[in-house]
C-alpha cells in the first residue's frame, strides 16, 4: 500500500520477554552495594583480590542487566524508560558500579607501574565532574536549544558571587544554601541575559551575550573590591562546606576530632560532586525528552514551524537560558568551594573557549557528551605530562620538555581538529559507535 518497504525493526523476531521488578532492579542494586562492601574492607583484603572481584562483579552486573531487559513489543511506559535496550541497561549498570567504585580505587594506596599519574587523578576526576555539569548545561543551551551564548563564564562568576554572599558572608561556609540560591539567581539573571535572543540569532546573539560576559565581569570585580579586596574570596578554611551536626548519624560520616565534618580532600568532595553532577545531568536529560525540551529542539530547528505548533518561541528561548544558567551557576558555586578561592583573575575569556572546546569535542547535540568532553580536556594534559616524564623514548626528547605547555596546546588543538573532521558528533558519537559495535558483537555471539 505504501510506496516504501518497512525497514525491519530490530526486535520484531525476538520473543516477548518481561523480567520481574526484582530482576529489573537487581543489577543496579548489586552495582550500588558492592562498591561500598569492597570499600569498607580496607586492610585485610589484598588489592589484587579486590580488583578481581571488581572485574567479576562488573561483568556479572552487565550480564544481568543485559538479560533482564524487556524484549518483544514494548509498551509505551517501557519505551519511555531512559535505558530501554539491553545495551543501554548494561552500560547504565556498569556506569553506576564504576562511579561508585572509582573513589575507593583512587583512594587506595595502589601505585601503577611507571609512575602513571595516579595521585593526581582524583583531583582531575573531581574537576571533570564540575566541568561536566557546567558544560552539559552550556550544551543544553548552545547545542540543544541552538541559542549561541558566550555568557557561560559570566554565570560561573554569578555562582561565585552568590556563593560569596550567601555561602560566605551570610552563613560562613554553608554551600547547601548557596546552591539553591545560585540556581534561583542563575535562572532569573539567565532569563534576562537571554532577552537579546528574542531579536538576535547566530553571530549577533553571540556578540550580545559576550557583552553580558563583560558586564558580569565588572560586577564581579566591583563585588570583590567592595567586600574582599584584591585577595579574593576564601571558600576554604573556616568557610569550608560541612555536613550539619544533625546529619552526622548518616552512614560513612564520622566527624573529625573537633566534632565537625568538613568537606575537604578529594574523597569527600567526590561524594558531593558526583551525585550533584549526575542528578543535574539526569535532570537535563529528562527535560530534553519531555515537553519543554522537545520545544527547545523545535525552536532551534525551525522557529516559525515551532510557533505554529503552539510553542511560544520567546518563552521557550528564555526558559532554555534560565535552565542552563541555573545549572551553570550551581556549578560555579561548586567550583568556588572546591577550588577554595576565587580572585579577580579567576574568570577570563579563555575559560569560555575551554567550555566551547569541551562541548564541541564531547558532541554538540548530546548532553552526556559534556562528560566525555571535560574528561578529554582534563585528562589529556595529565597524560601528556606523564608521557614527557616517564614514557620510553618520549622522555628523552628535550624539545618536548622544553616547551611543555605550548606542545600540550598544539596536540590538543590538533586532536580537536581530528575529532571534528572524522567524527563531527564528537566523542559522544564515537562512544555511540563503540557501544553499538560491542552490543552487536555480543548479540551475535549468543542469546
Amino acid at each position: 500500500m505504501t510506496a516504501v518497504e518497512n525497514p525491519a525493526p530490530q526486535q520484531e523476531d525476538s520473543p516477548t520477554y518481561r523480567p520481574s521488578t526484582i530482576q529489573r532492579l537487581l543489577p543496579f542494586a548489586v552495582a550500588a552495594v558492592v562498591p561500598f562492601i569492597l570499600g569498607s574492607t580496607t586492610e585485610n583484603v589484598n588489592f589484587w583480590w579486590k580488583a578481581l572481584i571488581t572485574v567479576v562483579v562488573l561483568a556479572v552486573v552487565a550480564r544481568m542487566a543485559w538479560v533482564w531487559t524487556p524484549r518483544g513489543e514494548l509498551t509505551h511506559r517501557e519505551d519511555m524508560r531512559l535505558w530501554r535496550t539491553p545495551s543501554d541497561r548494561s552500560w547504565a549498570a556498569v556506569t553506576t558500579f564504576g562511579l561508585l567504585v572509582l573513589p575507593f580505587i583512587l583512594a587506595s594506596d595502589f601505585t601503577p607501574p611507571m609512575d602513571f599519574p595516579w595521585a593526581t587523578w582524583f583531583a582531575v576526576v573531581n574537576l571533570v565532574l564540575i566541568f561536566a555539569m557546567g558544560a552539559a548545561a552550556f550544551n543544553l543551551l548552545v547545542g540543544y536549544s541552538g541559542q549561541i551564548s558566550l555568557a557561560h563564564v559570566a554565570f560561573l562568576a554569578l555562582g561565585s558571587i552568590v556563593g560569596g554572599i550567601v555561602g560566605v558572608q551570610w552563613s560562613g561556609g554553608n554551600m547547601w544554601v548557596a546552591l539553591p540560591a545560585a540556581a534561583l539567581a542563575g535562572a532569573v539573571v539567565g532569563a534576562i541575559s537571554g532577552l537579546p535572543a528574542l531579536r538576535l540569532k547566530h553571530l549577533y546573539l553571540l556578540l550580545a551575550t559576550f557583552g553580558f560576559h563583560f558586564v558580569m565581569m565588572l560586577v564581579w570585580r566591583e563585588y570583590l573590591q567592595e567586600y574582599f579586596g584584591f585577595v579574593g574570596i576564601r571558600f576554604k578554611g573556616e568557610n569550608s562546606p560541612r555536613i550539619a551536626s544533625w546529619l552526622h548519624w548518616l552512614p560513612g560520616i564520622d566527624p573529625d576530632d573537633n566534632g565537625e565534618f568538613i568537606i575537604t580532600g578529594q574523597f569527600r568532595w567526590y561524594w558531593v560532586l558526583m551525585p550533584i553532577t549526575v542528578l543535574s545531568i539526569l535532570f537535563m536529560v529528562n527535560v530534553v525528552r519531555t515537553r519543554e525540551g522537545r520545544a527547545f529542539a523545535a525552536v532551534r530547528d525551525r522557529d516559525v514551524s515551532a510557533s505554529l505548533l503552539g510553542i511560544n518561541v520567546a518563552r521557550s528561548k528564555l526558559l532554555a537560558f534560565a535552565l542552563s544558567s541555573a545549572v551553570v551557576s550551581m556549578s560555579g558555586v561548586l567550583a568556588s568551594f572546591y577550588i577554595g578561592s576565587r580572585g579577580e583573575d579567576s574568570f577570563n575569556v579563555q575559560t569560555v573557549l575551554n567550555y566551547a572546546i569541551i562541548i564541541v569535542v564531547g558532541g554538540f547535540s548530546s548532553i552526556q557528551g559534556a562528560i566525555f568532553g571535560s574528561a578529554f580536556f582534563w585528562f589529556l594534559p595529565e597524560w601528556f605530562k606523564w608521557a614527557r616524564e616517564e614514557l620510553w623514548i618520549v622522555r628523552d626528547i628535550d624539545f618536548l620538555s622544553d616547551y611543555p605547555s605550548e606542545i600540550d596546546l598544539a596536540i590538543k588543538g590538533f586532536l580537536v581538529v581530528i575529532i571534528l573532521m572524522f567524527k563531527p558528533d564528537g566523542l559522544a558519537g564515537l562512544w555511540k559507535d563503540v557501544k553499538g559495535w560491542i552490543g552487536r558483537s555480543l548479540a551475535r555471539r549468543g542469546p
Binding site: 525493526p9 519531555t290 515537553r291 522537545r294 525551525r302 505548533l309 535552565l323
Partner: protein, 265 residues
C-alpha cells in the same frame, strides 16, 4: 453565522510594492473541504500565512475564527502560537518538520498544546509528567495507526523518503486535534499511489476526526474530485469561487491555468 468556521474579508498582504494577496474575501463552512487553487505565485501560501499569523495583513482586513461552542475570535489580534492553540493547525508546502528528530518526537510536538508538563516536572520526571507523557503517546498512537507510520517511529525524519515525511507532517497536525486543518500542498511531489493514500487520510481527518479542511492544491484534478468548495487565486486576486463543477466551466479559471490564448481557442 454558525455553520461557518472561518471567514476572512478584505485580506491584503503586501511585500514592498507587490500585493501578494489583494482584498480577498472568503468563508469556510464547518466540516467542509475548502480548496484554494491557483497557478504558481498566485498568493495561496501567502493567504494561509496571513490567516495563521505568520504574515500581518494590511489594516482593514478581518479574519474571524468561530470555534464550536466558543465565542468568535479575531485571529489578527493573536500571535501564531496563540492561533495554533485556538485550534487552527497548518502544514507547510516544503515541510516544517524537525529533520534531526525522530518521527515520534515530531508527532509528540503536535501534542505540545494538549500536554501541560512544566519544565521542572519534566526534569524530575514526576509521576504526573510520566502520566501526561503516556497520554500524549496514546494520542499519537491513533495517528500512527491511521497513517501507517508504525515502522518509522524511531527513525530520524531526515532519513525518510519524501512521501513518508509528508505523512509525518500531516500526522503532526492531526495530533494537534485542530478544528481547522490547513494543508499547504500536501500532495506536492508525490506519486499517484501516495496521492491516493493522502486523499484517503484527508477524508479520514474530515469524517472521523471532525476537522474542517482548508486545502491548498496545485493539481486541479485532485481538487475537483474531493473539494466541496473551491476558490481560485491568480496574481493575488480572487478570480472565481464556487463548486468544483462550476470552476471547471469558468473561463477565467481556464485562462489562468492554461493561458488566455488556449482559452480563446
Amino acid at each position: 453565522m454558525s455553520d461557518e468556521i472561518l471567514s476572512f474579508e478584505n485580506l491584503t498582504v503586501q511585500f514592498g510594492g507587490v500585493r501578494a494577496c489583494d482584498a480577498i474575501d472568503g468563508h469556510v463552512k464547518r466540516g467542509s473541504l475548502f480548496a484554494l487553487i491557483g497557478p504558481n505565485g498566485a498568493g495561496k501560501t501567502t493567504l494561509v500565512n496571513a490567516i495563521s499569523g505568520v504574515y500581518k495583513p494590511l489594516p482593514g482586513a478581518q479574519v474571524q475564527f468561530h470555534p464550536a461552542g466558543k465565542p468568535t475570535e479575531d485571529l489578527l489580534s493573536y500571535r501564531p502560537f496563540q492561533i495554533a492553540r485556538l485550534g487552527v493547525a497548518r502544514t507547510f508546502q516544503n515541510l516544517g518538520l524537525f529533520m534531526g528528530e525522530n518521527v515520534l518526537t515530531n508527532l509528540l510536538l503536535g501534542r505540545y498544546i494538549h500536554e501541560h508538563t512544566r519544565l521542572i516536572e519534566g526534569g524530575l520526571f514526576t509521576r504526573r509528567a510520566v502520566k501526561r507523557e503516556l497520554a500524549a503517546r496514546q494520542a499519537i498512537e491513533r495517528v500512527v495507526d491511521l497513517l501507517d507510520l508504525g515502522a518509522f517511529k524511531r527513525e530520524p525524519v531526515g532519513d525518510l523518503p519524501y512521501g513518508v515525511q509528508k505523512r509525518v507532517e500531516f500526522g503532526r497536525v492531526l495530533a494537534m486535534e485542530p478544528e481547522l486543518l490547513m494543508l499547504d500542498e500536501p500532495m506536492a511531489g508525490m506519486s499517484v499511489d501516495e496521492k491516493q493514500d493522502m486523499i484517503r487520510y484527508i477524508y479520514a481527518a474530515q469524517d472521523e476526526l471532525d476537522m474542517t479542511v482548508f486545502l491548498i492544491e496545485h493539481d486541479m484534478s485532485v481538487v475537483m474530485s474531493i473539494a466541496d468548495h473551491v476558490m481560485v487565486l491568480d496574481f493575488g486576486q480572487k478570480i472565481a469561487e464556487g463548486t468544483p463543477a462550476e470552476m471547471q466551466q469558468d473561463e477565467r479559471v481556464i485562462a489562468a491555468y492554461l493561458g488566455t490564448e488556449m482559452a480563446e481557442n
